[in-house]
Amino acid sequence: MAASETPARPRRTDPTKFFFIMPAVIWVLLFTIFPLLYALYTSFFSFRFGRINQFVGFGNYLRLFTDANLHNGLRVTLTFVIVTVTVQMLLGFALALLLNREMRGKSVLRAIMVLPLFATPVAVGYLSITLFYEINGPINELLRALGGAGIPWLSNPFWALVAVIIIDIWQWTPFVFLVSLAALQGLPADLYEAAEVDGASAWQSFRSITLPLMTPILWLILLLRLVEAFKVFDIPTSLTLGGPGRATEVYSLFTYRTALRFFDHGYAAAQGFLLLFIVSLIVALLFGRIRSIYQEERS
């Protein structure tokens, strides 16, 4: 957090500004807004064999209420989001608190923690097929070595979802860790010194200094994680292909299949808007709590 410095307010107002801003604005209009409007248009039609068939009004949206497979996708995604984000937040923040001190090897630790964040998610999912391999994958071998039994990771609906969740936790806990650590290190040291002089215990200074100062950042991390988690597609697609059955068929995968396997573009567009609505709702609910972080931008 760079709350200490006050960036200069933009001063100039001459029309040159349009030369600088317009290319990007036009680009986003062309490649985000136009496709969105096109998707909205599409969602009111039924498609057959990739061609517009007929206007169906809100027909595609009404199907959202009765489609059991869609509800399955929603349920799988919600379970995935709640479990992964909760574990990532707790684990990542706890690790950051623990390692927020002067010590050797810290920059190496940080560099290593960056690796999962940029490891191609599809590749991670694909690799996980071998990690969770039931006969002699390393995870089951480890479990057996510890005296347990092997787990039917990819053939059992429950464990398949657990496997997907574990991989996502592996990939994204470092994000919570790194951002929390960066924010913790930006906290004013003199507050802690003053608290120590006043005889506050470690727990007390955590409760009354660290937590309140970190709260906006934690809300921000939570928001970013929630948004990303709702979009999940790559890992379940490469690790389990949504299976066994539909046990790991997350929302985006179901919509993808509706659109590009069954060519039901209109219905898929309607599904997309439901997901967009859910994600936007979360952003709207949480944005108020992180506004203060971006305040400096809004001068």
Partner: protein, 281 residues
């Protein structure tokens, strides 16, 4: 280091660190170790350490890199990453300068910034259908060019946010002095601002490359043959070939290594990028 660390704490922290590192690094190690195992060794238990427990081989690397599809996919991924990142940084730098130095009405700057960032909220699956239909219309299906365009769009928020912050942190007087000396706005931008933000610009470019390289949903939807990049090659392979650990190892590493190297190069700016400018690591 707010408080003194007692020996017990030190051991605890050391232990947690070791566990965390093993947990993070193991999958990479597993990919690597399988990529140099003979097929028979991959089906044997307890073959975890090369030379000691099995004789390593490079044959899978050689044979995989000889496959035309893989080479084409590596080339495609490179074109997509380079092209998309360059486009995004080009558009993004200009917009970043505008947002940092010009006023767009009362709260226009903040609104424009939010508008650019809000793109990261959009689930890609919402726009994959229109993109598919549009690209089909333009005859750009199975063409790397379509993926360059789309990845540039979805990585655009990174340069906009990171670079506008960097420019805002520069003293405005430098450009004003150049303007007084007779430079025009574009000269002040290219000769004064650009050199000063160059490190951030390069880092942003690298981050955009990593994201474009890793993108999967659009690549899967818009390519069928010629234009297939690495992530799509990978996703298709397993379920037709059965589990062949050695191929998995090679392909996974070929796919992951570039973005990971990119990430390490741009480390200083990663937190800023991933939090959309809210936290500066």
């Amino acid at each position: 280091m707010r408080r003194r660390t007692s020996p017990v704490q030190a051991i605890l922290i050391g232990g947690v660190m070791v566990v965390a590192l093993l947990w993070v690094l193991f999958p990479f190690y597993w990919a690597f170790v399988n990529s140099i195992k003979k097929p028979a060794d991959t089906f044997r238990s307890g073959a975890w350490v090369p030379f000691l427990q099995f004789q390593p081989t490079l044959e899978h690397w050689v044979s995989e890199l000889a496959i035309l599809e893989i080479r084409q996919a590596l080339i495609n991924s490179t074109i997509i990453a380079l092209g998309a990142a360059t486009l995004a940084v080009l558009l993004g730098t200009l917009a970043a300068y505008a947002l940092a130095r010009f006023r767009f009405g009362k709260s226009g700057n903040a609104n424009l910034t939010t508008w650019f960032i809000s793109q990261r909220i959009l689930p890609p699956v919402v726009v994959v259908i229109p993109f598919f239909l549009i690209m089909r219309q333009l005859q750009l299906l199975d063409n790397v060019f379509s993926l360059v365009l789309l990845n540039a769009t979805f990585t655009l928020p990174f340069p906009v946010i990171i670079l506008s912050q960097m420019i805002r942190e520069l003293p405005q007087e430098l450009e004003e002095a150049a303007l007084v000396d007779g430079a025009n706005v574009s000269q002040a931008f290219t000769r004064v601002v650009l050199p000063l933000i160059l490190p951030g610009l390069v880092a942003t470019w690298i981050i955009c490359m990593a994201f474009s390289w890793n993108e999967f949903l659009f690549a899967l939807s818009l390519t069928t043959n010629r234009a297939i990049p690495m992530p799509v090659i990978i996703a298709g392979a397993e379920h037709t070939r059965g589990v062949q650990f050695w191929f998995v190892g090679v392909r996974v590493l070929l796919t992951m290594l570039p973005p990971i190297v990119f990430a390490l190069l741009a480390q200083r700016y990663i937190i800023r990028g991933l939090t959309l400018g809210a936290v500066k690591g």
